[in-house]
Subunit: 204 residues, 2 copies
């Protein structure tokens, strides 16, 4: 298994390779444009089969293809989202997911006023439809965008319908069976990093 | 400077220490509850002054205090947000920021229909008020929640008003002077990690 910090960096390399025009790229150039060091880049790329050639670097197209395969870009993963509130709306409308083969196929909410309304091209469905949609689209991942008081209850519904991966935005720790993966999204991480770097700059 | 992956883990330790009741905690217990290994925990905590005692572990209160100091929790950082759309609404309403001394003091938008409306307790202000608010509250960080076509233009406005740190949600690379820090938020990272782990599980 590739460690998460390495996966995160590989994803940045993939985004960079999509932007460059040249045929080859060196680990020095990748490092400089991403803001890391060449040794880290070489270490990360040892998880892949593509080798760099001395003095020439890595073949951009080969490396890009291999990274797309790693991230399963060609293979679309169907995802459902629960909670058609502000965050749910922002995620459904976000074009960035399609580039990585992630497709939000349905949105659910418990509020009768929201059911039947549209977010982008999806109409908001009632919670009792989750089972039917998970079976029809072979959905494996659910995104939780409900208030923290409702998150555990929603997680249990998703697991009972066969969901194996949960992306959780609610600020609470979910209790799920061992065979279910949960990734907690905590957007405060980035703000704390910014705050920390600005503090250090002031001390210099 | 503490590397970002270490900062992210230290933040998870801080969250855990806020939840436990006991007086001491071992690196093994922290590792087990966070999902990492005890060696990594000990390595991370060497960035701090608090030492663990053999057989006893770390003093929970001392460690918690020191982490709060590191993250500047007691010292409030004032932040402004541009783009009162879906994502802007979700961020302004999110209670998680207050716990880390981060306060969103104002929200701005260019859409005349949104100016004067309320998000939580904040009323949406016009873009020309940014200079006045940054001076009055000594704001250092701006959050960009506008479509990618407007992001660079908004970044230039923020930098011209003295903002030194930008948290960017728009899927585009911002060009800013060297003394301005930008953290790009890419929420697809977590979904790709989930997708990758589910793929691996299937192969086993
Ligand atoms: N992790 C982060 O960094 C971060 C940032 C912003 C928001 N959030 C969190 O994301 C979540 C959503 O935030 P928001 O601003 O979109 O909230 P919101 O109130 O706008 O939306 C919540 C939606 O969930 C629905 N809902 C509530 N209980 C439900 C249930 N039992 N079943 C189905 N639907 C239910 C509501 O009807 C509503 O449409 C919150 O938990 C918030 O704390 C997290
Ligand atoms: N990084 C991620 O993982 C992620 C996830 C979701 C959304 N996003 C991004 O976040 C951004 C906001 O998404 P959203 O769903 O809230 O969009 P939205 O359309 O709901 O909101 C955008 C807001 O920005 C305002 N705006 C547009 N141009 C402006 C300008 N020049 N100056 C000031 N205000 C301006 C609009 O009036 C609107 O209120 C988008 O760029 C989207 O792609 C990123």
């Amino acid at each position: 298994v590739i460690p998460k910090p390495t996966l995160d960096r590989l994803k940045l390399y993939h985004r960079l390779l999509n932007e460059v025009e040249q045929k080859h790229i060196s680990s020095e150039e990748i490092a400089q444009r991403i803001g890391t060091n060449a040794e880290q880049v070489r270490k990360d790329l040892t998880f892949l089969k593509t080798m760099g050639k001395p003095k020439v670097g890595y073949d951009v197209e080969t490396l890009r293809q291999e990274l797309e395969e790693l991230f399963g870009v060609k293979k679309t993963t169907k995802v459902i989202l629960v909670g058609a509130g502000h965050l749910g709306n922002a995620l459904v409308n976000y074009p960035g997911f399609e580039n990585y083969g992630i497709e939000i196929v349905a949105v659910f909410d418990k509020d009768p006023k929201k059911i039947g309304s549209f977010i982008g091209e999806l109409s908001v469905l009632p919670m009792q439809d989750i089972g039917r949609v998970v079976k029809r689209f072979h959905v494996e991942i659910g995104i939780i965008c409900v208030p923290k008081e409702s998150a555990q209850e929603v997680a249990e519904i998703l697991v009972s319908k066969g969901i194996k991966g949960i992306w959780n935005f609610a600020p609470t720790r979910l209790i799920v069976p061992n065979d279910v993966f949960v990734v907690d999204e905590d957007m405060t991480q980035s703000l704390l990093t910014l705050k920390h770097y600005l503090e250090i700059k002031k001390k210099k």
